[in-house]
């Protein structure tokens, strides 16, 4: 007898045992995550030639094989990364969404509502100190909530950065694990069969890694896996590299691999998702919140700046925002205003300053033209200093300070002064001659003007140095040149600019005052004729204006009489009112039948009253009134932060002006300056319902709502992306399970099969043994 039989039996026994072991392994690992079921691959033993017969030599256990699909495994890893990213994004965005609260929570939107509510209450009783305090507190509250929101967004960034840091640590731990497994696998598989359990472990480690970063891997013939993360090598047969997260002071994170300078761009996994939110969404949200705060600050300040404080017109104002030296020469005054480092941009336009003489109550309105692209800081200071009784300077920090001289006060209101004719150029007592037309006057350098006054002849020569452009001389320049001439002063004459026309007058009033224009080369440009005599009047009329201008844009209204006559007496006497385009607005009948002191309607919300007196059309009597719809069309007051409501430049710095908090009486609610006036308050209140161009026509409240719902949309998008990726992942997972998962019933059947094979094999061995014994007993 040959040993073949026993051998066959032995092989069969051993193979069955191996099968049972494999089955047992599968059953034991049925719940192990990432386990791939193993199956015993067996084949028939090598055929032997025996006694002329080709005999099978039993069974041969070839290898215990993992049932896996490597391609499926790679896809699973990749999808795990995608899902991990979306999941992390959704989580992070949900955190951000909480900052905006639910639909009824206390937040910026409701604080804004409360501010408008307090303004509405104040408008019913503008003099009430308690209600004013309420407005100031409500404003501070809005600032507080915006600062909180901004701070919360920053805090989120830090929180996410910390989380990234923690995740990076995990990645490094996993990389270490994979590296260890690599070595073990390589060692174990050196020339031998696959190390199934270790490979499963490594695959599971890779899956956990894929949850955190975008992973690509390839298994080398040696069995080691080469893992790349974000395109850079994390684990190689040589070892594992370290991922490094550097958190900046502003909460930004730089991830590098294998050294601080090797930046890696991670897109997948939880880290990728978090970084995406941190680098794209959060800065965008921050910018949006900041932009919202800026719009709020600017719009409120635009309205508040031109109103008059409850404590009365200003004596001194300081700007909130400083001019900054941009070209590094240590001097600020040479910077263009548009490029001087202001947080808000003024535009080209005009600013009107009203200067009050506190003794007489007279109000002078001065216009400062302003083009931020052309005017330097120094130029602006000069223009403001040119306003009589006003002084402008920069303080130590570069902020504009405007103050009035003792006995004067100023404001920027659009209210029309009640007594507009300060020099008496319309029927005043002085002998007064005005130019028939307005500036510019086409003078030439060296032009002369000869006048005859009570004290003798006076000749004035206009030098080119007094004018910016002598061919386009302004009335103000000519008046300044005349007033500076000592001959003119000695003759008791004075000149003024009234609405762009030049007015030449005697200083004294009464019918004894007179002067005559004798000649001179400037006569033609000025529109006067030689020999024109002007006499003063004993009966000076006075013009009083009332009402509030309702027009939509700023106007210069010029009043001119249509003939010579006496108010209330001369038949057909009328005062024509012309706008800046020269169109007739209305004609006021002040002739016979008009009772001096009665109000005449100008039709745009204003009314005029004329007192008894003589007016003259031959002397070109005129009155110029600035009817303002907006006294600061350049928004320079808001850009500088003069008489502002809010301070700050973004959501992190917004607050209420400190001296307003200290003294709510300074709240600017009136445009007339009277303590009960509330037009300014109504203007602020109108912001609640006014769509702003800078917000695409939305109101401030709507803009906040849009901000919150945009975040909501983002979160919703992330949620559905996460669900989609999740479904795909589940699908792949299911397919993997189908292939590599353990079905216990199946294993039990296998177990029965192997058990029976084992029984049969042992039975066979007994038979062989019996047969051998029988053979032996024969001997």
């Amino acid at each position: 007898m040959s040993t073949l039989g026993l051998n066959i039996g032995l092989q069969a026994l051993l193979t069955s045992q191996a099968g049972l072991d494999t089955t047992g392994n599968n059953i034991a690992n049925a719940a192990t995550p990432g386990y791939s079921r193993q199956s015993l691959l067996q084949g028939p033993g090598r055929t032997q030639q025996l006694r002329g017969l080709l005999m099978g030599a039993g069974v041969r256990a070839d290898v215990v094989q993992r049932v896996t699909d490597d391609l499926l495994g790679k896809r699973l890893i990749s999808q795990t990364g995608s899902f991990g990213r979306q999941e992390a994004r959704y989580d992070a965005l949900s955190r951000a969404e909480l900052l905006f609260g639910g639909a009824s929570d206390v937040n910026v939107g409701s604080a804004l509502d409360a501010l408008f509510e307090s303004l509405s209450s104040l408008s019913a009783s503008p003099g009430d100190g308690v209600l004013r305090e309420g407005v100031v507190q409500a404003g501070e509250d809005v600032g507080l909530r915006l600062r909180q929101l901004s701070g919360d967004v920053d805090a989120l960034r830090f929180e996410f950065a910390e989380r990234v840091d923690g995740l990076v640590r995990e990645v490094n731990v996993l990389a270490g694990e994979i590296d260890t497994l690599n070595r073990e696998i390589v060692q174990l598989e050196a020339g031998g069969p696959a190390a199934n359990n270790l490979r499963d472990e490594r695959q599971e480690a890779l899956r956990r890694l894929a949850e955190l970063v975008d992973v690509r891997y390839a298994v080398e013939p040696t069995g080691a896996a080469r893992v790349t993360v974000g395109g850079h090598l994390l684990v190689s047969p040589a070892g594992a590299n370290q991922l490094l997260a550097q958190v900046g002071v502003d909460g930004s994170v730089d991830v590098s691999l294998g050294g601080p300078t090797q930046k890696v761009d991670l897109r997948g996994g939880a880290i990728g998702g978090l970084l995406d939110v941190m680098q794209n969404f959060l800065p965008q949200l921050d910018d949006q919140v900041d932009a919202y705060a800026r719009d709020l600050i600017f719009e409120f300040n635009k309205v508040h700046g031109t109103s008059v404080p409850g404590t009365g017109p200003h004596h001194r104002v300081t700007a909130q925002y400083a001019f900054q030296d941009q070209n590094g020469n240590g001097v600020v005054t040479d910077e263009l205003v548009a490029a001087a480092g202001l947080p808000f941009d003024p535009t080209t336009g005009e600013l009107h300053v009203r200067v009050h003489d506190e003794a007489t109550g007279a109000i002078e309105v001065h216009r400062v033209d302003f083009d931020p692209q052309r005017t330097t800081v120094g130029g602006l200071l000069a223009d403001l200093n040119a306003v009589p009784n006003l002084a402008a300077r920069l303080d130590a920090q570069g902020r504009l300070q405007v103050s009035s001289q003792s006995g004067y006060a100023f404001d920027f209101s659009r209210d029309v002064p009640t007594q507009p004719d300060l020099v008496g150029s319309l029927g005043g007592g002085r002998a007064s001659l005005a130019t028939p037309g307005a500036e510019p006057f086409a003078l030439s350098a060296g032009d002369t003007l000869t006048l005859q006054s009570a004290s003798g002849p006076v000749t004035v020569t206009f030098g080119a140095g007094s004018f910016a452009n002598v061919g386009q001389a302004t009335a103000a320049e000519i008046a300044a040149a005349l007033n500076a001439d000592p001959g003119v002063q000695a003759a008791g004459l004075t000149a003024a600019d009234v609405g762009g026309s030049l007015v030449l007058q005697t200083v004294g009033a009464g019918s004894t005052e007179s002067f005559q224009v004798q000649g001179g080369t400037a006569l033609g440009a000025l529109g006067w004729t030689a020999g024109q005599t002007v006499v003063g009047s004993d009966q000076a009329t006075a013009v009083t204006l009332g009402g509030a201008y309702q027009g939509a844009s700023n106007e210069l209204l010029v009043f001119r009489p249509n003939m010579d006559g006496t108010i209330g007496s001369t038949a057909g006497l009328a005062i024509d009112v012309l706008d800046s385009a020269g169109n007739l607005v209305t004609s006021l009948d002040v002739g016979a039948g008009y009772r001096p002191g009665d109000a005449l309607d100008l039709g745009n919300g204003l009314a005029a009253t004329f007192a008894l007196g003589d007016v003259s059309a031959t002397d070109n009597d005129l009155l110029a009134v600035r009817a303002l719809a907006d006294s600061d069309t350049s928004d320079v007051l808001a850009a500088l932060g003069v008489n502002s409501f809010f301070t700050g430049t973004d959501a992190g710095s917004i607050g209420l002006r400190a001296d307003l908090l200290d003294d709510p009486g300074k709240l600017s609610g009136s445009i007339t300056g009277s303590p009960g006036g509330g037009t300014g308050i109504l203007d602020l209140l109108a912001l609640a319902d006014r769509g702003l161009a800078s917000l695409d026509g939305r109101t401030l409240g709507e803009q906040y709502g849009a901000l919150a719902s945009d975040v909501g949309f983002e979160v919703q998008g992330a949620e559905s992306a996460m669900e989609t990726e999740g479904l795909l992942l589940d699908g792949l997972q299911a397919r993997r399970d189908q292939l590599s998962g353990v079905n216990i019933d199946e294993e039990l059947v296998n177990m029965l099969e192997y058990e029976q094979a084992f029984s049969a094999a042992s039975q066979y061995i007994r038979v062989i043994s019996d047969v051998t014994n029988e053979l032996l007993s024969l001997v």
Partner: protein
């Protein structure tokens, strides 16, 4: 490839099913507990945005409602005041008409004057009424609008307290006091006529009343019948005639009542007063009366003033003599040709006298401190009546405006309440959970959960192990 269920897939399946079932239950419970369908913006961003927008509108509606209420309170208070004033003025008118009755004596008139003073005080108080700290009729001036005095001036301004009661909709909650109590209408200068002074042709400038004081300076003239001028106590102005009728034994000044000639030996004859038809006096010395009849012409010069301190001589030939008071800017042109006696002429700038000055004037006229004859008093009272009626018209008009605005506020309030309610409904629709729906959802979720649990257990427990011995 056929589907091969594995242990892990079976367990996962049951696990997922259970989790999902629980999630639905929890969500339904959350909605029930908070009453809200939308808990976070991401639940339904579109509806969330709409709900947030509605909330802004709701806040705005509440703001408007509160402003409307404030406006109405102020308007009603002012209307109440104005109503009281109107009643007082009506009573004053009755008193004035009774004062015009010629049968009353001085003490009757004095008591009527006292009552009119009372009325004036009450009207003044009503005009100065405050609501809280705010004056109802001072515009936005914040100061007492009408200070008591000889001539009451309006110290407030022309601005109204304006409230925002709707989008682009505002209401003036006050009417400036000068429009109700001191309104200015077109009119002419009116002279009461007691001294003969009349309005000149040039335009006058001024407001309210002016007392034109005409003063006698000197009398000149040659008298017949041996009479002489005393030179003191005369109140005639201009040219007058003295008629002595020796036959009837009377002396007559102008068209006055002839009086009996005095006895020259009587000590009173040295200063005998003749009174003309307007009550002007001429003092004559009759001691040298020679008993003849004569008609003599005398001329009395005088001067006049409107401020009581600066007097200008009367130009009796002038039809248009101008008097000015620079401190008030008053310019008065007087036709002096008809001036015949000294005294205080009431000059009224028609349409400019305010209610208080009118009442003051009525009381003064009734008291008649100057001792004017009753027909002149009545002339003055009739002029006052014109101004009183004019002022009453303005009070009634102001009352009408206040009342109309108040009614508008009431209507607005109702509309705002309605639209607020509607908004509430809209918000609730979007944001709140429909309780019955949620309860249904919850019941469904519960049921699904239980089914999953039951079937899951069944599936999990089925195993070959149960059957192997």
């Amino acid at each position: 490839m056929t589907i091969r269920p594995t242990q892990s897939s079976i367990f996962n399946l049951v696990r997922m099913g259970l989790l999902e079932g629980q999630r639905s239950s929890v969500r339904a419970q959350e909605q029930l507990a908070t009453g809200r369908r939308l808990l976070r913006p991401s639940d339904d961003p579109v509806d969330f945005a709409a709900a947030a927008s509605f909330q802004r509108q709701q806040a705005r509606g509440e703001r408007f409602a509160s402003a409307v209420n404030d406006a109405r309170t102020i308007l009603d208070a002012a209307a109440g005041s104005a109503q009281g004033v109107s009643e007082q003025v009506t009573r004053a008118r009755e008193l004035l008409l009774s004062g015009l009755n010629g049968t009353l004596n001085d003490s009757d008139r004095a008591s009527i004057a006292a009552e009119i003073d009372e009325i004036r005080q009450r009207v003044l108080e009503a005009a100065n009424q405050q609501l809280g700290d705010q004056y109802l009729f001072a515009g936005t001036g914040g100061v007492r609008p009408f200070a008591d005095g000889a001539a009451v001036r309006y110290a407030g301004n022309d601005e109204s307290l304006r409230l925002t009661v709707g989008v682009d909709s505002q209401v003036d909650a006050t009417v400036p006091g000068d429009r109700i109590f001191a309104a200015r209408d077109p009119g002419a200068t009116v002279f009461a006529g007691s001294t003969g002074a009349a309005s000149g042709t040039s335009p006058d400038q001024g407001s309210g009343y002016v007392d034109l004081v005409l003063r006698h300076d000197a009398t000149t003239g040659t008298l017949g019948s041996g009479l002489a001028l005393v030179g003191a106590g005369d109140t005639i102005l201009g040219a007058h005639t003295v008629t002595i009728d020796a036959a009837a034994g009377t002396a007559q000044l102008g068209n006055g009542v002839p009086v009996a000639l005095p006895d020259p030996t009587d000590p009173s004859a040295a200063d005998f007063t003749l009174v003309d038809e307007s009550g002007a006096e001429l003092h004559l010395d009759f001691t040298a009366y020679d008993g003849t009849s004569s008609t003599s012409a005398v001329f009395a010069d005088g001067s006049m003033s409107i401020d009581g301190s600066t007097f200008v001589p009367i130009d009796f030939a002038s039809a248009d003599q101008q008097l000015t008071d620079p401190s008030t800017g008053t310019v008065l042109n007087v036709d002096a040709r008809g001036i015949h006696r000294a005294g205080t002429e009431l000059v009224q700038f028609g349409g400019t006298v305010n209610l208080f000055d009118t009442l003051q004037g009525i009381a003064d006229d009734l008291r008649n401190a100057d001792g004017l004859p009753s027909d002149q008093v009545q002339a003055r009272l009739r002029e006052r009546l014109v101004e009183l009626d004019r002022n009453h018209d303005h009070v009634l008009r102001g009352l009408g405006v206040l009342g109309a605005r108040s009614a508008r506020m009431t209507g607005l309030e109702e509309r705002l309440l309605d639209s607020n309610l509607q908004l509430e409904g809209l918000i609730s629709e979007r944001r709140d959970a429909d309780v019955s729906q949620v309860v249904l959802d919850m019941a469904q979720a519960q049921q699904a959960l239980e089914t999953t649990q039951a079937s899951g257990v069944r599936l999990l427990q089925t195993s070959l192990l149960n059957f192997l011995r």
